[in-house]
């Protein structure tokens, strides 16, 4: 009897081991060739790679249940169905909070169409205004001898990289650029005068005996650019690493699988010096991505202040997909999805994606003033640097007060 039990018992163990060894471990990843495969590939990649699932209002499971049958009815070889698919993707993505998010199509029927949920949402918001190019008006504020340089080898949105630098009443240093590829132009062998302007700007920052009482960095309308410019440009204002927030990306395939938060730094440039005078950063509704990172880095400094409007709200940085296995991806040869690789949290613990970073002093866009040749945002920046607030900043620094949200800035906000 005991032997019988024993033999059955051994058989049970063997069966257990055999059964448990047979589980399939991998899922096949299918290359899309029909609309149902395109949808599956898109849905799965979004599920895995999108970094805002735990704070986004889009119900991704509902999207699957609703749109899978709809895509199943579409024919990839039918042009009207291809256009219908574009409309479906518009509907699917309309509430996503990632302000970097866009879909561009490589299918010939909808080749020029782009889906940008953030832009559509912003057009519906109160106070929406189209992008304004301030340069023509702002040049009138600068002392004679200002610099304007172009790099035609660096084109963004059909425009060459344009850098403006000069002084205002010989007491305020002004700098602006229309996008960030400064380092690329600086070290480029192409014929451009960006390097001379940047050298002038950096020299003015480092001269202790200069008459400069403050700096205005104008990133209004600047959509961002090369991440390396953050260290290259902001690194000249500091001599120690500047902690200005945290980043987090995805980890694994799960919708809610995230890496821990890690600190985001601006590292000082080799020629960087601690700039102790007031730094005003001007930004508007069209300042996005790296411009927003720069705004937040400036605000992390005890002598930094942000004037203007809420920024665009594309705070999560972009990089190659393979760095974090998250962010942008292609769906076969049909479309390309542009999305943040990480999400960014400012020092106050808030994620400003989709909302935009709030200015210390809000100065709304004023078209009628601009028509008269007055840039009220720039004027406010000049006033702040000149005014008693600057003295207050210096006094606070003298007593060692360098709180992020010091009463000084709160006073400024309230007065504004």
């Amino acid at each position: 009897m005991t032997t019988w039990f024993l033999s059955k018992f051994i058989l049970l163990i063997v069966c257990t081991l055999l059964l448990t060894a047979c589980e399939k471990e991998t899922n096949e990843h299918i290359k899309p060739s029909s609309f149902i495969e395109i949808f599956d590939d898109y849905w799965y990649n979004m599920d895995k790679s999108y970094v805002y699932w735990d704070i986004d209002s889009t119900n991704w499971d509902q999207i699957y249940l609703k749109y899978k049958p709809l895509f199943k009815e579409l024919d990839l070889n039918n042009n009207s169905d291809v256009i219908r698919s574009y409309e479906y993707f518009q509907e699917i993505t309309r509430d996503l909070i990632d302000c970097h998010y866009s879909i561009s199509f490589t299918n010939s029927t909808i080749l020029n169409k782009v889906i940008s949920p953030a832009y559509v949402k912003k057009q519906k918001q109160a106070g929406f205004h189209y992008q304004y190019y301030y340069m023509d008006i702002d040049l009138n504020y600068l002392d004679s001898g200002y610099y304007v340089a172009y790099d035609y080898s660096n084109i963004g949105n059909g425009q060459p990289l344009t850098v403006v630098c000069g002084t205002i009443n010989n007491e305020i240093l002004y700098f602006s650029c229309n996008f960030f590829t400064l380092m690329k132009s600086y070290y480029s062998n192409s014929d451009n005068s960006i390097k001379q302007i940047l050298n002038y700007f950096f020299r003015m920052l480092s001269e202790e005996k200069s008459n400069i009482k403050g700096v205005i960095v104008d990133v209004r309308g600047n959509p961002g650019g090369d991440l390396g410019d953050l260290n290259f440009f902001m690194g000249h204002f500091i001599e120690e690493p500047l902690h200005f927030g945290y980043i987090q990306s995805k980890s694994g395939n799960g919708r809610f699988d995230y890496t821990p938060w890690i600190k985001a730094f601006v590292n000082p440039h080799a020629d960087g010096h601690k700039f102790e005078k007031t730094i005003v950063v001007l930004a508007d509704n069209y300042s996005a991505s790296l411009s927003e990172a720069l705004v937040m880095a400036v605000c992390s400094l005890p002598n930094g202040i942000f004037i203007g409007e809420n920024t665009w709200g594309a705070t999560g940085p972009l990089t190659e997909f393979e760095v974090y296995n998250a962010g942008s991806f292609a769906v076969g040869d049909f479309m390309y999805v542009n999305s943040a690789s990480c999400r960014f949290k400012y020092l106050d613990g808030k994620i400003y994606e989709g909302i935009g970073f709030t200015p210390d002093i809000l100065v709304p866009f004023n078209f009628s003033e601009l028509e008269k040749g007055t840039d009220s945002q720039l004027q406010k920046a000049i006033d702040v640097i000149r005014s008693e607030y600057k003295q207050e900043t210096l006094r606070r620094r003298a007593i060692g007060c360098s709180n992020l949200y010091s009463p000084f800035f709160k006073t400024l906000k309230n007065k504004a």
Partner: protein
Amino acid sequence: MVQKKFYLLLSGLCFCNLNLFAQIRIGVSLGGTHNHLVYDVTDSKLTQQKKIMGYSIQSHIKYELFDVFSLHTGIGIFQKNYSFNRIGKYSGYYEQYNNTYLHMPVKIEAKVYEKYKFAVLINTGIFIDYWAWANIEGAIPNIFDTQDVLGNNGQVIQHLSPAYYSEKYTFNNQKDKRWEYGFESGIELDYLVIKKYCFFLGFDYLYSISDQQKKYSINQSSKKNIAISLSLGYQMYF
């Protein structure tokens, strides 16, 4: 609810078949564990999963049912660690999970060989684990901590600095399933030192049939642990 069922099962198994002539053995063991997470990482570029060592501390209560059979249970700590390691140009970056479970097996054990002071026993049954705590450590590339170097052709090359971390894992109620159960089988070599006292060397194989995650999304990849342990222990007969 699950906890209540677990206690009912345990008390039932412990007190059924009780007879006056039964022999009880109580012991403790220490050992090393090796865990494999059954999880699909094929879509994560330049990433490999790595099995990681851990430790186990286990109490043993054995209740003899018949001549060669006994009921084997106990409670202990069992680590099921794993890591995801980047390869290729991201070599050196990794994310390691050190997961510690409260472990309770309920197994039937049979003595299949006995000679001189040695005995060989095999066992099989189920286990119920509770994911008590976890720690994550690793290194990830930090795109907001770069060192920029100028290449020979004037091109700027960015080197991402690694961000190292080691922190307590915060459980996510929406995602993490902390109760785990599955099958457990093992083999044990006993050496009787003196009457009623023995040392043993044990090998166990644990196969989880439950997912480490709750079902929170459609088409979700499952995460299941398969672990082995090798332990050295000491038992007393009562």
